[in-house]
């Protein structure tokens, strides 16, 4: 287990080298990071006729890195700074015109930012451009012919163009080589404008040529040095220093260029370069300029449109640290985290509460809407549990929020509201990880917001959104449940013994309805520690007058004998038919399967998800480990008191498990009874229309 995870514990994104790699340079790269001070990069920018102006900040935003599982070459191209005033015809991104159009508004801001060198509008993907990646490129391209006309043209057209051209290449390269690490969108960001001024052709030609052969490693290096310089400048060193730095960059570029043309020397460069890299990354952290933030948001939004964001992996320290800084709530991490589940959030339960309470009267623009805040607290204290209840509560809170929403000045409703919902969702996630059904509901809401016509007034937009939310709750949850009940009761015959596990509201409705229809059957409620949710169900069923048996999951194999039907709820049904549900469901389903009892899963289709999951490990939720240790009402079971201090003890309180489709006889949805193999069909047929389902 340890060894398996070992490889993934690496925090620094690494690029595996593929192809022709100089061994020396590869070895040199991961060398021990120098202390930040030692290698403080001389900030360098050229003061030659065509100085390289780097508007970017290098900020290790690993989170955004990870949100791009696909190579998206567009952002880098848009960030490439706009043409100099002299040359209006130059598209923003020198190789992707359409994208340039998209990014035009941003380009202008970049342009203004360029002048004072406070890295303007760096996108995350650029900002976290990992130097290692760039160096990779440099290494890759090393040894190729350099057809540079002169040192006087410090960064000639060819350099700039090749740098631009390099952007997609490196993206691809990173994608091929480092999928595991997720350095995907990182691209050397190059500002072209001055260079373009020097040679307008660079700007005019929107199509990047495969110019690998024209670029030298040294040039590349120069660019990166310059970027580093820009970053240092942005860090707050001040414009003056940056100006000085400019000169240094130029110097270095000049000095390095001839050397690169002598191929013999070139091998050293990557090593030197990579030595400095860790310094850079350590520098990056505290710098967050407001410009950068907005740009980041924008590009993030872009990406989210086409790519589902991967889940946060909590064994990634950088990201966790980042999330911590951002989060509204302070929470303490659990001490003895279960090794296998390190990627899941493991916080000490209840530690969020004080900070939440203290924040309640805090005036803060980032503060969540009171309704959302309340729902978040209710999630946290487990006052609201159950997929449907949580989803409805969240949607109602968002409804309130939208009702009270007014678009700030100079913002559009579509964008601002989406951002607002995102921040609220991340607040809810800190309270308790959201369920798949909630994720689907959020996706629905966001699609609705995004599809709002631009011409619609704010009032109308809000009104239609509220209607949509109401409709979603009605159709996807309330009516769906009624339909499920209608289908399911046909499967209950007189004399049946029905077994259920935990407490599912749909199953409860089914049982009550069948009872009201006068069917004669018995119910076995299987319960499991620590939540003992079955007790609530049992109480309600008994209140209605049903004949019940109550037992714990330990007795499942015994209780299953004589059972004729098993009805189970689900948190989600995944596209391979796997049922993701309250922990214990898989156990009950397997026992039932072994004894030949049909297992019926009752689940609304809005809970279906395209994801495929094979085990309960990669995505799950961890409950409070204390709950396992303590037994309510038993003072004598205290042998584990102070267990948290023991290094040798890991207590695992899983919330969900995955039941393979083999153990499921049928899935009852509002669309009818389908075998688990048909889940993808339903997903396909009913989500064609942008989330009508």
């Amino acid at each position: 287990m340890e060894t398996r995870r070992g490889a993934r514990m690496v925090i620094d994104p690494k690029v595996r080298q593929v192809g022709f790699v100089t061994p020396g340079s590869e070895l040199g790269r991961p060398a021990a990071p120098e202390p930040p001070g030692a290698a403080a990069p001389v900030p360098v920018v050229a003061n030659s006729p065509s100085p390289v102006i780097i508007p970017l900040l290098l900020i290790p935003d690993t989170s955004s890195l990870r949100t791009t599982p696909l190579p998206v070459p567009s952002p880098p191209s848009r960030r490439v700074v706009a043409a100099p005033p002299a040359d209006d015809s130059m598209p923003l991104g020198s190789y992707n015109p359409s994208d340039a159009i998209l990014g035009s508004s941003q380009g202008s801001s970049e342009r203004t930012g360029n002048n004072d060198k406070h890295g303007s509008a760096p996108t995350d993907s650029l900002a976290d451009m990992s130097l290692s990646n760039a160096s990779t490129l440099a290494i890759r391209l090393e040894g190729l012919n350099v057809t540079n006309d002169g040192i006087s043209n410090v960064l000639s057209t060819s350099t700039v163009r090749s740098a631009v051209a390099a952007a997609p290449t490196s993206v691809e390269h990173a994608f091929q080589t480092s999928s595991g690490q997720g350095i995907i969108g990182s691209v050397p960001a190059v500002s072209v404008d001055m260079a373009a001024a020097a040679n307008p052709q660079a700007g005019i030609d929107p199509r990047p040529m495969p110019l690998k052969d024209r670029t030298s490693k040294a040039e590349r290096r120069a660019i990166q040095e310059a970027q580093r310089a820009a970053k240092a400048a942005a860090k707050g060193v001040g414009t003056d220093i940056a100006a000085i730095a400019d000169g240094n960059v130029a110097n270095e570029v000049k000095s390095s260029k001839p050397s690169s043309q002598k191929k013999g020397l070139s091998e050293k460069k990557p090593a030197v370069f990579s030595d400095k890299k860790p310094v850079v990354s350590s520098d990056k952290k505290p710098v967050v300029s407001s410009d950068k933030k907005s740009a980041e948001k924008a590009s993030e939004k872009d990406k989210r449109k086409d790519i589902p964001a991967p889940r946060m992996q909590f064994d990634d320290e950088q990201r966790v640290a980042k999330a911590k800084r951002r989060s509204l709530i302070e929470q303490t991490e659990a001490k003895n985290r279960v090794e296998l589940f390190r990627h899941l959030p493991q916080f000490l339960h209840g530690t969020q509460l004080p900070s939440l309470e203290s924040k309640f009267f805090h005036e803060d623009p980032l503060h969540p809407h009171p309704s959302v805040f309340q729902v978040g607290l209710q999630y946290l204290t487990r006052e609201i549990v159950g997929g449907n209840a949580r989803c409805i509560a969240m949607l109602m809170a968002f409804r309130d929020m939208i009702n009270d929403y007014s678009t700030p000045m100079e913002k559009t409703l579509v964008r601002d509201l989406t951002a607002k919902i995102n921040s609220h969702v991340s607040f809810l996630i800190t309270c308790r990880p959201i369920s798949i059904s909630m994720g689907n509901a959020i996706k629905f809401l966001k699609t609705r917001i995004a599809s709002l016509p631009v011409t619609v007034s704010e009032f109308e937009a809000k009104h239609s959104l509220i209607l949509e939310i109401d409709r979603f709750i009605q159709e996807k949850i309330v009516f769906a449940d009624n339909e499920i009940v209608k289908h399911a009761v046909t499967k209950i015959r007189d004399g049946d013994v029905l077994l259920t596990h935990g407490s599912s509201c749909v199953v409860e409705m089914i049982l009550v309805r069948a009872f009201e229809l006068g069917k004669k059957f018995q119910v076995v409620v299987i319960d499991s520690r620590p939540r003992l949710e079955g007790k609530g169900l049992l109480r309600r069923l008994l209140g209605k007058g049903l004949h019940c048996t109550y037992t714990h999951i330990n007795a499942a194999s015994y209780a299953m004998q004589g059972v004729t039907r098993v009805f189970l709820g689900a948190a989600s049904v995944l596209s391979n038919g796997t049922v993701y549900s309250r922990v214990g469901t898989a156990c009950v389903a397997m026992v039932a399967h072994a004894l030949g009892v049909p297992v019926m899963i009752c689940c609304e289709t809005y809970k279906f998800h395209e994801r495929v999951q094979l085990d309960s490990i990669c995505s799950n939720e961890l409950g409070d480990p204390d709950a396992l240790v303590e037994v309510h009402g038993r003072k004598d079971v205290y042998s584990l008191r102070g267990w948290a201090d023991s290094k040798h003890l890991h207590v695992l309180n899983l919330m969900y498990d995955a039941t393979p489709a083999d153990y499921v006889s049928m899935i009852i949805t509002e669309l009818g009874m389908v075998p688990p193999t048909s889940v993808p069909v339903i997903l396909r047929e009913y989500r064609k229309v942008p989330y009508v389902m």
Binding site: K491, R565, S665, L671, G672, V674, P675, S678, I682
Partner: protein, 361 residues
């Protein structure tokens, strides 16, 4: 030579991209160009209806059933098609002045038909299918009642052709699964299976068929007779010898009364047992069934099926206290089936549900 070419061409037609929509296929169905074939029957039924119409209101329902029985008496006509024909007659006779009224009439008639024989799956599947077509055709709303009626009637007429076409398609698709020199076990008497085997034999395949006796209706004997008339070597076994015979069998080929949502089939009693034995001996079990037999039901076990009891003759006198428990059909779960030959293509059991979802939802 030429005929072979033609066959392969036709096979290409059917096996290539057999995406299905009942309704579009209905459009394309021009196989059977002999509508006169059905005329006498309809005429006679119309006479019957006119006589009955004199009586009272409720007799409208009776006439549907009579109509259905009339159609069903035709040997080549499947039950589902007969049901559709009967419903078509209802349309013809309907005095409704609006499409809505027509729809209500149809609904009543189909309910009556279903209630008349609750056990028949293909009957209810046929009714559902036709009702589905009627309610789904949005174009009908814009037409006047006469045109709408004509269109529905035309559609109903075509179902008979579709039924024949489907059988041919299945035979074309399935005959390649019959290998030269193989032994095939079949259970019950199915027209589709018969068509498939006949086509395979006419294509020069040499194979041997083992028919079960098929109690209680002795349908296996009938099957054996039909096969013999097609000059296919047949041997007949008793139902209880399935396991005994299975080791020399290469594949099991059965028809189906109905194909249910799980991908399992409902067929003559004993199919489940044959499939179980075949499964345990790792022999493939193939099912030949037209897609109009796909039914929106999902039995979990045998008791989930509506009972279809029948009279069984037990030799010798039975003591009074003995209860003879007989059902005419059973449910075979999908995990015991290898493939289904349908006019939509050769499907795995799990693909049935996909087709059903697309058809009905």
């Amino acid at each position: 030579m030429k005929s072979e070419e033609e066959i392969s061409r036709r096979r290409g037609e059917v096996s290539g991209a057999v995406t299905y929509e009942w309704l579009t296929q209905a459009e394309a169905a021009r196989f059977h160009k002999d509508p006169d074939n059905f005329k006498p029957l309809r005429a006679s039924s119309l006479v019957g209806q006119q006589q009955q119409r004199l009586s009272d209101e409720r007799e409208g329902l009776f006439s549907v059933i009579d109509e259905f029985n009339l159609w069903r008496s035709k040997p080549e006509l499947a039950e589902a098609v007969a049901a559709i024909k009967a419903l078509t007659a209802v349309i013809q006779r309907s005095e409704a002045t609006t499409m809505m009224g027509l729809e209500i009439d149809l609904k009543k008639a189909s309910e009556a038909l279903k209630a008349w024989d609750e056990t028949s799956i293909s009957l209810s599947a046929g009714c559902d299918l036709f009702m589905r077509y009627v309610t789904r055709t949005s174009a009908l709303e814009y037409e006047d009642i006469v045109a709408g009626k004509a269109r529905l009637i035309e559609r109903g007429e075509k179902f008979g052709e579709i039924s024949l076409k489907a059988r041919q398609t299945i035979a074309l698709l399935g005959k390649d699964f019959v290998q030269d020199g193989s032994t095939i076990l079949t259970h019950g008497c199915s027209r589709v299976v018969l068509a498939l085997l006949k086509l395979a034999a006419s294509n020069g395949k040499h194979f041997h068929v083992i028919c079960t006796e098929g109690r209680p209706k002795n349908s296996g004997v009938e099957m054996a007779n039909q096969l013999l008339s097609a000059k296919i070597p047949v041997s007949l076994i008793i139902d209880s010898a399935i396991a005994y015979t299975m080791e020399k069998v290469d594949m099991v080929l059965v028809g189906a009364d109905g194909v249910v949502e799980s991908g399992g089939i409902i067929n003559m009693i004993g199919t489940y047992q044959a499939a179980l034995v075949a499964h345990s001996m790792s022999k493939p079990v193939y099912v030949a069934a037209e897609s109009y037999k796909f039914a929106r039901m999902y039995p979990l076990d045998q008791r989930d099926l509506p009972l279809a009891p029948c009279y069984v003759h037990f030799p010798g006198a039975l003591p009074e206290s003995v209860i003879a428990e007989v059902s005419t059909r059973d449910y075979t779960p999908p995990k015991y089936l290898t493939l289904l030959f349908t006019d939509l293509g050769v499907l795995t059991p799990s693909a049935v549900s996909d087709e059903l979802i697309q058809l009905y939802l």
